[in-house]
Amino acid sequence: MHGRLKVKTSEEQAEAKRLEREQKLKLYQSATQTVFQKRQAGELDESVLELTSQILGANPDFATLWNCRREVLQRLEAQKSPEELAALVKTELGFLESCLRVNPKSYGTWHHRCWLLGRLPEPNWARELELCARFLEVDERNFHCWDYRRFVAAQAAVPPAEELAFTDSLITRNFSNYSSWHYRSCLLPQLHPQPDSGPQGRLPEDVLLKELELVQNAFFTDPNDQSAWFYHRWLLGRADPQDALRCLHVSRDEACLTVSFSRPVLVGPRTETLLLMVDESPLAVEWRTPDGRNWPGHVWLCDLPATSLNDQLPHHTFRVIWTAGDAQKECVLLKGHQEGWCRDSATDEQLFRCELSVEKSTVLQSELESCKELQELEPENKWCLLTIILLMRALDPLLYEKETLQYFQTLKAVDPMRAAYLDDLRSKFLLENSLLKMEYAEVRVLHLGHKDLTVLCHLEQLLLVTHLDLSHNRLRALPPALAALRCLEVLQANDNAIESLDGVTNLPRLQELSLCNNRLQQPMVLQPLASCPRLVLLNLQGNPLCQAVGTSEYLTELLPLVNSILV
């Protein structure tokens, strides 16, 4: 047998492995037990550090043990001399690095490092930056490390320009890097602060153009990589607008004042956040939402006392002040008028050029050109198609309406998974366009029939609408937000797929409601209508509930004053 090589068989190897694993498991379990016992007994000494490091070294994701370590370190901080402590910290940092090598995406380890560095009197931030750079070299998309890097950069006050250069270098290596793009979106506004974050873009034009070129390089190289498209959308977006009061409406008949906001807000039970001044003197009122649920919403209203509406004075002024957002609005109710209002015009403020900035129309135009160019090369790229639609809306929603609808059709064909999302988005854009047209026509009648709508939005913008036609769409509900339409008198919603009427609540002026050929199943769904005091005509032809037994009896009881048509 001399000189002959003997090799273990695979069964032998497996057996050896199994034994080794068993041994490891035993050690692991006994160490864990000891740590827990010591912790319970309050014996937080260095032996606990030693034990936990054995376990965490193998499995750094044992969060409880990190907590345990923190407790020990905190206790030792009080007991040890500065020199001893420094040595302790040094080993701890080294230990953390070894844990990160085991799992570079361990939440617990990165967090522990943050905690430790935060407690040091003189942390070596340069070394930490170096550590991040190393880890990002191995995996440039490790967002745990990016998080930590942002923490370190903030603590060490690294100039944003340096960090920007760092993101540059990583994007150069692999542009499919959400973290890196996102970091840019944080750094660039710091580097180029905009004087007034009104409805403008986020960056000065020269910087913007450079970034657009970079991101264009990315999506021409690989249009299917989403990271660049997301960044593109951020670039073209505008800064978050300040809170504004969009509309203020006073009605003498209902003795009611209604306010609509630019975003959903919560007005507390007391009136400190939303002040009402009637004829320049404050009036304590009780604010509520139209549906009575008092959740954060766009629209809030309050009842006015008769004194504020009396007809003796030539007019009454109503001023509402939103203290939380530094916004206010004023309207006048003239003698002999039933109502008075004041509102921001959707056409003037270009409310619906929504996410994209308005200032840079030349930039937007050229972006549109290059996206169209890309679309010719990649007719099936959904990101490109979506971006074209958004750019067109930002440029001129009405001019591009037809083209936009065609792109929507293509987009739905190439991305059937998101058909419902796209339908909703399309509905939103169509509704916005109709709203613009209504305002140009200076009427309070809104026709939304035959538009294939799947969802209703921007209802808070429709505060003043008196006649609304929603017929021949694909709506499945009249949503609660519809209750914001305080002036609505006639609502037509025939030939939809409506199953619920939650939004037809507390509409003080609603007289006619037409719901032919919908999917109302049970008479119960009509319950909300009882809260509309002036309803006189209700058409329910062609709904399943017409066939149900006892519907007409239920109706006469529920809505005694209403002339209901069932057949």
């Binding site: 000189g3 002959r4 090589l5 003997k6 090799v7 068989t9 390089n217 160019e373 090369l377 990649e378």
Partner: protein
């Protein structure tokens, strides 16, 4: 010494080129008793790498055209009546038209010697008549197969020194590479190799001193920093050789570096070729639309087989014609054709081009951002790595050991033995012979192709960037459609193939004329001879040549076995290097021949894990069926192996 060699083997391998070395390793690994000999004093044959002094002595060999091998005792009388002999050649005729030029300035009165050079054990060749060598530079040599060695100074500023400098060259003491070409047998021991490799691993990026002039004496002095390959090849990162290196675990004997750049030469300018996602994204030279076009085409190439309708109609035409139909700008067509598919206008059809492009792209990203790897210390390392594996499993090595003839049994028409230079008769079952060892009698009907090669030492890169440590490959298409494209590989000093501050440039093409005639036009396009005076605008200047070597190498890669006269069936032929970039040819050849020698054996399986080897003391499971253990171990080595390398020791 001859008495020490056993007289019987299973396989005798003659020649230590890459295919021979792989077969030797595979056979040894499968338990065959292997004798591996080479008549040269170094490993690798035409696959070898040389230090600077090594290449000079290699040159001398061809210059003198002398047969260094001593005449052995006559073998004829050993041939019995029922036997006949196939005499092997004594001269290597694979290298021709050797020409060497030195441009670097030379300190005339300084005797320089390669630092760290060991005692000469190799014939130190000092030309007796240096003037003659110079004068014969351009004279056609009398013998067709003879090579011309010319040492010239082309430095325009010093026309008078022609003679003197030539003298200088010839006076340089040429020392053999004792470290590598140690007397006979034994591979370098691991520790020796380690220390010799770990010393010079500093990367020269940190401080780049103000362009110091490199003189010829510096090159000589730093000669051991050079590892000049005779063949210029790279490893495709998904090529057969890489797979084999990994599978057999031979990779542990070598280190590699990624090629860092793919370059193109267009309109008189060297530029970087964008071929990966990151490159295309970062490229400043491509327009947005071009970026999309290129990415789209490359993505298609990655799995072109799945879209037959995109290329079926174009199968009959050339790849370059096909590219024209693909909405690619001329710019992009050029990149794809020459730098990615690395073919030419006429050379390949659509399918071949698509295959080549796909191969290139599939190799991307495995080890880095280019498809290629280069072995540190030169391509010549690779045959040695396999030899080492062979030795670990008991193979016996003899360098500078030539074989006089093969002995064939008349009746069975099988080869039964060799007779070596000492007249020793060594019997074996199988004989592997590298093509160049066959005599003219055997090869009288063989048609060879030629490879034109050039090796340059330059002072800067063909394309300057932030880092001076770039490894680049550049394809320069032929001027006329009939001429062959020239492949240029530029190695920086961190590849351990040249001294700091220099670049080693390899040019390769299929020959149509002599190497110099084929390659000099490209050299002139890319480089300029070194001159004493620094020109004003250094920025735009081309890299300057310090030293240049041209030679032709015989290409026996597509010679069919049938063209050799009267070879017995158990004599197998290995070819020399081919002109291709990758090493697939050598690996394929080795595997095919191995299957003939050892049918049904696994080709270079991984050696067993050291932990799984049961040593004598480890008798824990001695009961386990011994038969299976022996079968799996499969590395029964001859008793002689003890002195050459015990597998148990070596694998630790």
């Amino acid at each position: 010494m001859a008495d020490n060699l056993p007289s019987e083997f299973d396989v005798i391998v003659i020649g230590t080129g890459l295919p021979e070395s792989i077969i030797a390793a595979a056979c040894s690994r499968s338990g065959q008793r292997v004798l591996h000999v080479d008549s040269r004093s170094y490993y690798g044959g035409n696959w070898a790498s040389f230090s600077f002094s090594g290449i000079l002595s290699w040159l001398k060999e061809y210059q003198e055209n002398s047969d260094i091998v001593n005449e052995g005792p006559a073998w004829q009388e050993q041939i019995l009546e029922n036997e006949e002999a196939i005499a092997l050649s004594r001269k290597d005729k694979t290298i021709q038209h050797v020409e060497v030029f030195c441009y670097a300035s030379q300190d005339l009165h300084e005797e320089v010697e390669e630092a760290g050079a060991l005692q000469k054990n190799h014939a130190s060749v000092i030309s007796e008549n240096p003037t003659e060598a110079v004068h014969s530079a351009y004279l056609p040599s009398e013998d067709q197969s003879l090579c011309t060695v010319s040492c010239e100074m082309l430095t325009e500023q010093t026309p008078s020194s022609d003679l003197e400098t030539a003298l200088e060259i010839n006076n340089v003491k040429v020392t053999g590479e004792t470290e590598k070409h140690d007397d006979k047998t034994c591979m370098k021991s691991a520790s020796e190799e380690e220390t010799s490799k770990n010393v010079p691993t500093t990367e020269g990026t940190a401080l780049q001193p103000k362009k110091t002039r490199i003189t010829y004496s510096q090159i000589i002095k730093e000669g051991r920093r050079f590892n000049i390959d005779l063949v210029s090849k790279l490893l495709y990162s998904r090529g057969l050789l890489i797979d084999l290196l990994i599978k057999s675990n031979v990779s542990r004997y070598a280190e590699f570096k990624n090629i860092t750049r793919i370059l193109a030469f267009r309109e008189g300018r060297v530029e970087q070729v964008p071929y990966s996602r990151a490159d295309v994204f970062n490229s400043k030279q491509l327009t947005m639309v071009e970026k999309r076009m290129l990415m789209k085409f490359l993505t298609f190439c990655m799995e072109y087989e799945k879209h037959p309708d995109e290329y079926k109609a174009y199968e009959e035409i050339t790849f370059s014609e096909y590219l024209k139909t693909q909405k690619l700008t001329p710019n992009l067509q050029y990149f794809v054709l020459h730098s990615i598919a690395m073919t030419s206008e006429t050379a390949s059809n659509t399918i071949d081009g698509l295959k080549a492009t796909k191969n290139f792209l599939h190799c991307l990203g495995r080890y880095g951002n280019t498809p290629f790897l280069f072995p540190l210390y030169g391509q010549g390392e690779l045959p040695q790595c396999f030899c080492r594996m062979c030795a670990v499993f008991g193979g016996i090595y003899c360098l500078r050991h030539s074989v006089q003839c093969l002995v064939v049994d008349k009746e069975s028409r099988k080869c039964k033995a060799i007779i070596d230079q000492f007249g020793q008769r060594i019997i074996s079952k199988h004989f592997l012979v590298e093509d160049s060892y066959f005599s003219e009698n055997t090869c009288s009907h063989v048609q060879y192709r030629q490879i034109s090669r050039s090796v340059l030492i330059t002072d800067r890169s063909v394309l300057k960037t932030d880092s001076d440590q770039q490894i680049s490959i550049l394809t320069v298409p032929g001027d006329e459609p009939r001429t062959f494209a020239v492949r240029v590989i530029e190695l920086c000093s961190s590849t351990m193939t040249c001294m700091k501050g220099t670049y080693l440039v390899h040019l390769t093409c299929t020959s149509s004329k002599t190497a110099r005639e084929d390659l000099e036009p490209v050299v002139q396009k890319l480089f300029t001879p070194y001159t004493e005076t620094e020109t004003e605008n250094e920025e735009v200047e081309k890299p300057r040549l310090l030293w240049a070597l041209y030679f032709n190498m015989r290409d026996s890669s597509d010679v069919s076995r049938n063209s050799y006269n009267d070879l017995p069936s158990n004599v197998y032929v290995c070819s020399g290097p081919d002109s291709g970039l990758g090493n697939d040819n050598a690996v394929k050849q080795a595997e095919t021949l191995f299957q003939l020698i050892c049918p049904n054996e696994d080709f270079c399986p991984p050696p067993p894990n050291p932990e799984d080897i049961i040593t004598d003391g480890d008798s824990l499971q001695s009961e386990v069926s011994e038969a299976s253990v022996i079968l799996e171990a499969n590395s029964e080595s001859p008793k002689e192996s003890a002195s050459f390398g015990n597998p148990e020791e070596a694998s630790q």
